[in-house]
């Protein structure tokens, strides 16, 4: 930075000091003087009058401008600021205070030549002005014009600066748009026509260099020291803290932080790390045993019965199969499931799997509620659908009447939307189990709504990645009825129906069942564990797919497990518009859809592209005595099941990935 010119120029007691201490003094002086600022010279009175007239409108902007104006450590900037303050119509008040406040150490001349460089500071301010207050700028501009001639006339002392300002004022509208203009020396030439400007001295060059140096942007961000000091002083003037000098350092730090630019790395680390800290806090809650006041009784209760499955054991077996999450993640899932069981009235619970998404994954738990613990949500949903049906019926009535009256009416389309297939009751078919999802262990579990057949039918047609947010819309063609939660539920239903398998004989049908006629239609949908199951040797499990059976009901093309004739009208609908419907019934007859019955072996599954839909493996070929038989689905990549023959182990379909690739609907 250049040396400050030594000799104070009495003719130009311009405010300027580059030393921060002096600046701070000046600032304090400024502040002291501003509120009761009294215009010094008579010359400034008329200006004030003009100024005050329009000052009431934009007081706030004035304050900011004024603070901006005072924020600079350079006098040229301050001059600019003063000029701007005039724009803001506080100019008169500012001027004298600044003038009297500051020791006149610098000649005004250097800054004239540095006018070209000054302007960018102005430009940035202008930009800020514009950004902040678009309207104000126009008002300010209009305000420019008035004081300017006065300025030129009256302030002979400051003539040079004024001219400079006038030059910049005339280029006012350009300043924010074209920084190149300000840097050009043409302005200097422009200004010099009416001024007696001395030739630039080496000192001025030094000053220019200093200013250029201050204006250069720092390496880390787009902020320059110049702008930062402006910002800092603005902040101080806005807040008017007591004894600002003593808290200057912290104010400086805060001003930097508030600029929304990357700052010193030491500051930056803290807020970022908080994300992982929050996660750790949440997960810590999982590990704490519920209720410190409970005594030993609870320990006994817990040991005997709990709905939470032994996740660690299954994780171990899946690891043998080459599939699975790491052991600590499995443990966290276990604890999270335990939390779920405590919160909800759950009879059986199972970890279904994990579905990966773009910005988050889903952990899915398959759950059965205890008897009689139906949710209230379902009733509300039913009411809504009933309301919908009533309005549809009314629509039909009105339609008939209209046709009779006027012959000129636009012909009504004869297309009727296909009848809505009712969704299956809870605890049966596709809605046999309830599903809860959460994004990470530690987050609250959200219940997924029941799936409707329409959603399943549509889910078969589209293929979308999951984003990880349940309320995200599913934008696809054909349009999917529902958001991501519904899509997720539909995919879970399809995967479950296709890939839940067990060794032959593990499950069997109950002995006491109803009429055969009903069964022939609906198919058996209940099964129970076979107490006499002895286990099939692992090698046999691997060799033949006939040793595995599905234990979930197949989903029909209709979207349900049990077929429903969509043309069967309920009583309400039959009362209205009977004639129309009878005519229709004759034409459309829907065939009953039949799917493979429960407990069909895998060998009868349809092939995909001439390849079997299942692949079997031994987990370890080196030690077949202790290895696990693993079955992998080729239809849904990520679905695995394992079995160990003699150990009466249930096989679990484990979905570790999102289904994708080329697959056909199940």
């Amino acid at each position: 930075m250049g040396d400050p010119p030594p000799a104070p120029d009495p003719s130009a007691p311009q405010p300027s000091s580059r030393r921060s201490s002096q600046v701070s003094e000046q600032r304090s002086q400024e502040r002291a003087q501003l509120p009761p600022a009294v215009p010094d010279g008579v010359q400034q009175m008329p200006l004030d009058a003009q100024v005050l007239r329009s000052s009431q409108e934009i007081l706030e902007s004035q304050a900011n401008l004024q603070s901006w104006s005072q924020g600079a450590s350079l006098s040229p900037y301050e001059q600019l600021a003063m000029f701007q303050a005039e724009e803001a119509q506080l100019g008169g008040m500012e001027y004298p205070s600044l003038n009297t406040g500051f020791p006149s150490e610098f000649l005004p001349q250097p800054y004239l030549d540095g006018g070209g460089i000054q302007v960018p500071g102005n430009a940035s301010l202008m930009q800020q002005l514009q950004h902040g207050r678009g309207n104000v700028f126009q008002e300010l501009e209009s305000a420019y014009q008035e004081p300017r001639p006065d300025l030129l006339g009256q302030f002979s002392m400051y003539q040079r600066e004024d001219l400079q300002f006038s030059a910049s004022a005339q280029h006012g509208p350009y300043m924010s748009d074209d920084p190149a203009l300000q840097f050009s020396p043409s302005e200097l030439g422009f200004m010099s026509f009416s001024m007696q400007v001395p030739e630039p001295e080496p000192r001025e060059l030094a000053v220019q260099n200093a200013k250029a140096y201050l204006l250069q942007t720092s390496v880390n961000c787009n902020l320059s020291l110049y702008e930062h000091l402006v910002n800092l002083l603005t902040k101080i003037l806005n807040q008017r803290p007591e004894d600002p000098l003593s808290i200057l350092e912290s104010l400086n730090r805060t001003a930097q932080w508030e600029w929304f630019h990357p700052k010193l790395d030491t500051l930056r680390d803290d807020p970022e790390m908080q994300l992982t800290y929050e996660m750790a806090e949440r997960q810590k809650a999982l590990f704490v045993r519920g209720g410190s006041g409970e005594g030993e009784q609870d320990m006994e209760e817990e040991v005997t019965e709990t709905a939470v499955p032994n996740i660690m054991e299954t994780a171990f077996y899946f690891e043998q199969a080459g599939v699975g999450l790491s052991s600590d993640e499995s443990f966290r899932i276990f604890v999270a499931l335990k939390q779920l069981v405590e919160q909800q009235p759950i009879r059986t619970c199972r970890f279904w799997g994990k579905i990966l998404g773009l910005s988050g994954s889903y952990l899915v738990a398959e759950v059965e509620f205890r008897e009689g613990e139906e949710e209230v949500e379902e009733e509300e949903v039913e009411e809504l659908t009933e309301g919908g049906e009533a309005t549809e019926a009314h629509g039909e009535e009105e339609g008939e009447e209209d046709e009779e009256k006027v012959t000129d009416v636009i012909p009504k389309p004869t297309w009727k939307p296909p009848p809505v297939i009712p969704k299956e009751e809870s605890r049966s078919g596709t809605n046999k189990f309830l599903y809860f999802v959460c994004n990470e262990p530690g987050r609250p579990w959200t219940r997924l709504p029941h799936v409707t057949p329409a959603q399943i039918v549509h889910a078969r047609k589209i293929k979308k990645f999951f984003t990880g947010r349940l309320d995200a819309p599913v934008i696809s063609y054909p349009p999917f009825p529902g958001n991501e939660a519904n899509y997720l539920r539909a995919q879970i239903a399809r995967i479950s129906a296709a890939t839940h398998i067990s060794p032959l004989g593990f499950y069997q049908f109950g002995e006491e069942e109803g009429d055969e006629e009903e069964e022939g239609r609906a198919g058996r949908d209940t099964y129970e564990e076979n107490a006499d199951f002895e286990g099939i040797p692992v090698l046999e499990l691997v060799d033949s797919l006939a040793n595995w059976v599905h234990h979930r009901q197949h989903i029909l093309p209709q979207g349900r497990c049990t077929w429903v004739n969509p043309l069967q009208k309920t009583e309400e609908e039959e009362e209205l518009g009977e004639e129309e419907e009878k005519a229709d019934e004759g034409v459309e007859e829907v065939e009953q859809e039949i799917g493979p019955p429960l407990l069909t072996p895998l060998s009868e599954d349809a092939e995909i592209l001439h390849t079997s839909p299942w692949t079997t493996r031994l987990s370890c070929s080196l030690c077949p005595q202790y290895s696990v038989a693993v079955v992998r689905s080729n239809l849904w990549p990520g679905a695995y099941a394992y079995a160990i023959g003699k150990m009466n182990l249930r096989c679990i379909g484990y979905d570790g990935a999102q289904p994708g690739c080329d697959f056909m609907s199940s």
């Binding site: 790390m273 690891e319 043998q320 199969a321 599939v323 990966l356 390849t611 080729n634 080329d662």
Partner: protein, 226 residues
């Protein structure tokens, strides 16, 4: 995954659900050491696993001193015996693009593909059906190459380019900071740069020639198939 830090990398990558059983892990650790010794590689990376109907392929890659030089790819069916795969060529890509479906798991399996070829017989031009046989090994090679070109990723700063040309591992690389790790621009494709020369001079001015010599992930546009 580097053979030296295999276990740690497997733990970190376990979130996707794919992992290795303990016996595979143990055999990998052993056999990759031997591969490194026998083939004199500077680094051996466990590339991954390709699932097949009958068996799975385990793929490893060996790198020499210059990290950007073409890598040697090896495959194994049991993680113990490794066989070298031929380098990928463009004809292989074209040839294998017609084969769809899963891998069978048998490296000597041949896919049959019938093509209509025009045969000039004097003045007549007629089409003949030619059955082209494509080996599964070829398909494996081209698939691995395609996957590498598309998704092989390395963070900025992990490699640096010496003035002589070769690319070395940066031993002073400590990892990306959290803010940097969230930006796509801090990751590069680990392959010969294609887009670099298309950058404007202004963009190139900001780059550090020793660190930014690869394509960034920022400007990748996925191909959308109708």
């Amino acid at each position: 995954m580097d053979a030296e830090s295999l276990l740690l990398s497997l733990e970190l990558a376990s979130g996707s659900g794919q992992g290795l059983s303990p016996d595979r892990r143990a055999s990998l650790l052993t056999s990759l050491m031997l591969v490194k010794r026998d083939y004199r590689y500077d680094r051996v990376l466990f590339w991954g696993r390709i699932l097949g109907l009958v068996a799975d392929y385990y793929i490893a890659q060996g790198l020499s001193e210059d990290q950007l030089a073409p890598r040697k790819t090896l495959y194994s069916l049991n993680c113990m015996e490794w066989s070298l795969l031929p380098p990928a060529t463009d004809e292989m890509m074209v040839q294998t693009s017609v084969v769809k479906g899963r891998f069978t798991g048998d490296p000597s399996h041949e896919y049959e593909h019938t093509e209509l070829q025009k045969v000039n017989d004097g003045e007549k031009v007629f089409e003949e059906e030619v059955v082209v046989q494509i080996k599964e090994e070829t398909r494996l090679v081209s698939i691995i190459d395609q996957i590498d070109k598309a998704v092989s990723v390395i963070p900025r700063g992990a490699l640096f380019k010496t003035p002589f040309g070769p690319v070395h591992v940066n031993r002073t690389f400590e990892g990306l900071s959290l803010s940097q790790a969230k930006k796509l621009s801090s990751y590069f494709h680990f392959r010969e740069p294609v887009e670099l020369k298309n950058k404007t001079l202004l963009e190139k001015a900001d780059l550090d020639p020793s660190l930014d010599f690869l394509d960034s992930l920022e400007h990748d546009i996925p191909k959308v198939e109708p």
